[in-house]
């Protein structure tokens, strides 16, 4: 049933595809970090209409499945003339989906900044840009770094969904091996174990960073 020699023969292909998994995670996370901040700030706008629009976008993106959003980007957009490759559509979908989640994280960080800091910034006649960049954001982001780190792991575990839009990452590689040999067991199990090792190791790493962070 379980063949070790077959397992070892598939390992190089899957490890090769792991590069794509990690690359997609990092690019997607970078998009989500920036997008989340923009959404969080847009939601705080003094203009009621803008704030409402941003709230609506965040709620909508959070309430719909990543898979369907990916289909929309990859298969839906070409119908109106915008064609994206699997990698672009994939990281964009992943990034936008988690922007909505990260905006909530940023929001909690921003709301935790004491009122006095805003007032002091105003009293010192800082421009809005300087106030956000030099006073508010440094204090808002620091305490939420561990939460952001956790979302990095969550996003890493979501990347196999990108196989549905033909991106060859670990799960897709395993599926292709399975389709070729009719042996799905070894390849899929291997992918599962690799995910487990990587996400467990990174969660330990984040916990250690968190401890170090809190000490200073």
């Amino acid at each position: 049933m379980w063949s070790w020699s077959f397992t070892w023969s598939t390992l190089p292909y899957i490890l090769d595809a792991m590069k794509m998994t990690i690359l997609a995670t990092i690019v997607g996370f970078a998009i989500a970090l920036v997008g989340g901040l923009l959404l969080a700030m847009g939601r705080r706008s003094k203009n009621r209409l803008i704030s409402l629009i941003f709230t609506g976008v965040i709620e909508f993106v959070r309430s719909t499945p990543l898979l369907v959003q990916l289909y929309f980007l990859f298969y839906g957009l070409p119908a109106i003339g915008i064609s994206l490759g699997p990698f672009t559509a994939g990281v964009l979908g992943l990034g936008i989906h988690y922007s909505a989640y990260l905006s909530e994280v940023y929001r909690s960080g921003i709301e935790a900044v004491p009122r006095g800091q805003w007032e002091a910034a105003k009293a010192l006649n800082f421009t809005r840009w300087t106030m956000w960049r030099r006073i508010i954001l440094p204090q808002a982001i620091r305490p939420v770094v561990p939460v952001l780190g956790n979302y990095l792991i969550v996003m890493f575990k979501e990347t196999p969904v990108l196989s549905a839009i033909t991106l060859v990452e670990m799960l897709m590689a395993a599926k292709m091996i399975g389709a070729e040999s009719f042996r799905y067991l070894e390849a899929f199990t291997l992918v599962g174990i690799l995910f487990l090792i990587l996400s467990y190791a990174s969660s330990l790493l984040i916990r250690r960073l968190e401890l170090k962070w809190n000490r200073t």
Partner: protein, 215 residues
Amino acid sequence: MVSVDLLPLLYQGAVTTLKVTVLSMGVAFLLSFLAGFARLSRRKSIRLVSSVYVEVFRGTSLIVQLFWLFYALPLLGIELTALAAGVAALGLNYGAYGSEVVRSAILAVPKGQTEASIALNMSPMLRMRRVILPQAMVIMLPSFSNLAIELLKGTSLVSLITMADLTYQGMILRTFDASRTFEIFGLILLMYFVMAYPLTLMMRWLERRFSAGRV
């Protein structure tokens, strides 16, 4: 845009999506409590088994578990239908997340409550049922509602193991007329939102109701 002709098939898909959601929620809810209590057991072996379960299912992704149950398990001699594999994967995955919610909520109930029930000579069973759980449930509510929304969204993945849910119907409709793909998936996103948003509203309502009079 006239989308009316798409609706019958999409409606069928939505019914399947809701069916999978409800069944998986049942399994996940049960497993959450089972594994959550097991994590707090006095016996080390029980704690170990449940932490392995939780770590394995939280550490690998839902889609990998789904594919494993559907494509790999038959090679070990266990064949599951798409529905069984889907419900099992969703139930096991969200059960693992839910067990952490149960565990942390029970631990969050102040220790004085346990001590008071012991002082009142309540049996452990009665203590849990009448004192600890009612307070822990209030703490669990927001996290459970969040998980319910995540689970509903997670069901879209069963389309990849041949189940004819809402997402799957979209892929089918797309093959008839690819030029309408934008409209089809836009409509499907809207339908998922319509299904998920009541859960969000219900969560807020429950939170307000149960936190009334408590601070």
